[in-house]
């Protein structure tokens, strides 16, 4: 099984150097070969399992409580402006 590392890296928002690409291609292909063993298992008519303790659709009362202050919420921000998180422009001109 071959994996297109650059394509997957793009989907995952990671930047990969050409050396990394080669290394990861080998390593990830090995793991994919291993997990490919699951094809041996007959899963016709088998339901999928996403939770194992029987809890589904758990909700709680939506009661407003004390939350982080604006200052606290921003305390780990790499860049801020006028009390807001600052991010890079999405459009070219900005």
């Amino acid at each position: 099984m071959k994996i297109d590392v650059q394509h997957v890296a793009k989907l995952a928002n990671l930047k990969i150097t050409p050396e990394e690409e080669k290394k990861f291609e080998t390593q990830l292909s090995e793991v994919l070969n291993m997990v490919g063993k699951l094809n041996e298992v007959d899963t016709a008519n088998v339901q999928e399992t996403s939770q194992v303790t029987g809890l589904e659709n758990i909700t709680r009362e939506d009661i407003p409580t004390q939350s982080l202050s604006q200052e606290e919420a921003l305390s780990n921000a790499t860049a801020q402006h006028n009390g807001l998180f600052m991010v890079k422009g999405i459009f070219d001109e900005e």
Binding site: L28, V41, V52, N76
Partner: protein, 474 residues
């Protein structure tokens, strides 16, 4: 102060009787960290001032006659538990400067119970790893032989407990990250039932598998801690309303009539014969004490590691997507190789065209794995297995071969996929290297694990065997 045979229960007694003060105790543990940790690298952050402040307030509480389940007990937290105003890194450069604005539920519960936090322990970055070597802040060393790994991903926590740098330390177990290191370090490690302990405020790895547990020196100590940490939490929807029993009160119930299952698939070719012998000795012990040993089969076991590396990486890729370097943390470029590998694998198995072949298939086989256990637990009360097919390995031995490293978890991932509790406790030594025994139980039946392990520990107190390092330095 002599710490050699101290446990949580005996320390509580000494504090209560004023044989020792919390400040004295805390200073002794801080001194041990100073003495041993240059060689072990178990801690990322030591909270000396905060710990001593807490200790002073504990001494005041004790003299006021206040009693709490962990009052004055010096503990450490895996550095993946967020702590308000204390740096929390997940051992990754992405979070090297992250100072959380809130406290996780378990940390709050431990503090409310009177525990004193000495520091934050090392781990494989983001809890990705089985050896402790994958930390951006350097590997942790096994205190029983510093050339060896302590196991991972919770590497610093059991190392701290085994080396008397803390009486208890927290861990997380997504595929064996508590049980494997417990086995490698002669400590007691509990992976509770999925949802038994709140995940709120623990940096997420794989959300359908993450279990929040702890390391202690003895089985009784583990029970005391679980009585504090377990329970419903409104901030984690996976915590059920199942009542939390007093785990300490049923410890001594014995194993007479207990049905112990031995799944044959856990004793395959790859199992080290010296480990097999230790497991056999334990089984003989239980038989002699009135338990019934039952041969069982979990036919899909051979697929557990494959299912795990699909589901886990899928969930990792989703959970780590939030690290964009905007609200907190550094840029995604700071992710190490292992995180990148898992993010990419997970992204791949979830991507269009591959979803059905990998992810959906894994969720279906997960159903079959669960059925195996449901069937087996109709015949037995608990299962006994090795925790690892091999002894602790040398630092550097598996680091360049991710696949080989992934296979370290072959006997532990199963429990996470089906959500059952697992307890690893000291089973003996091969030379200087510790070997743990794994018990697997029914959902929410940690009490049976505890009474089973307790019976063995009473006659085989391996926890008292100190690491070589401590003897050499003292």
């Amino acid at each position: 102060m002599e710490l050699q045979n101290l446990t949580i229960t005996t320390t509580l007694e000494k504090l209560k009787n004023k044989e020792i003060s919390a400040v004295e105790l805390t200073n002794t543990y801080l001194a041990n960290i100073e003495k041993y940790d240059t060689q072990l690298n178990a801690f990322i952050t030591v909270c000396r001032n905060e710990a001593l402040e807490q200790a002073e307030s504990v001494d005041k509480k004790i003299s006021d006659g206040i009693s709490l389940p962990l009052l004055g007990i010096p503990i450490a937290l895996k550095d993946i538990f967020v702590t308000k105003n204390i740096k929390t890194t997940a051992a990754s450069k992405v979070l090297e400067k992250y100072i959380p604005q809130y406290e996780g539920t378990v940390v709050e519960k431990l503090k409310d119970a009177g525990a004193i936090i000495l520091g934050k322990t090392n781990l494989d970055a983001w809890a990705h790893g089985s050896s402790g070597e994958n930390s951006d802040f350097g590997p942790t060393h096994n205190p029983y032989d510093t050339n060896y790994v302590p196991g991972g991903s919770s590497s610093g926590s059991p190392t701290a407990v085994a080396s008397q740098m803390a009486l208890m330390a927290t861990g997380t177990d997504t595929g064996g990250s508590i049980r494997l290191p417990a086995s490698f370090t002669n400590t007691v490690g509990l992976k509770p039932t999925y949802g038994r302990v709140s995940r709120y405020g623990v940096i997420a790895m794989a959300s359908s598998l993450d279990s929040i547990g702890h390391f202690t020196r003895t089985v009784e100590d583990s029970a005391v801690v679980l009585s504090t940490t377990a329970g419903k939490d409104q901030f984690d929807g996976t915590t059920p309303t199942v009542p939390v029993p007093d785990y300490q009160s049923t410890l001594k119930n014995g194993v007479k009539g207990l049905k112990i299952g031995v799944p044959k698939e856990y004793f395959g070719e790859g199992l080290d014969p010296t480990i097999h012998e230790i497991i056999q000795n334990a089984l003989s012990f239980y038989e002699k004490n009135g338990a019934e040993i039952v041969d069982i089969s979990l036919p899909h076991t051979q697929y557990a590691i494959e299912v795990y590396y699909i589901i886990q990486t899928a969930e990792v890729s989703s959970n780590l997507a939030r690290y964009t370097g905007i609200r907190y943390g550094n840029d995604r470029q700071e992710f190490g190789d292992e995180a990148k590998r898992r993010i990419m694998l997970g992204t791949y198995v979830l991507s269009a065209g591959y979803y059905d072949a990998y992810y959906k298939k894994a969720l279906q086989v997960r159903t079959l794995l669960k059925k195996d256990f449901d069937e087996a637990f109709k015949k037995v009360d608990v299962m006994l297995t090795p925790a690892s097919p091999s002894l602790p390995f040398k630092i550097g031995e598996r680091i360049d071969d991710p696949l080989q490293m992934y296979l370290s978890d072959v006997l532990t991932v199963h429990a996470n996929l089906v959500g059952i509790p697992g307890l690893v406790f000291p089973g003996g030594f091969v030379g200087d290297l510790p070997v743990g025994i794994q018990l697997l139980g029914k959902h929410f039946d940690e009490a049976t694990l505890y009474k089973t392990a307790y019976a063995f520990e009473q006659e085989n107190p391996f926890w008292k065997t100190e690491p070589k390092l401590l003897k050499n330095i003292l």
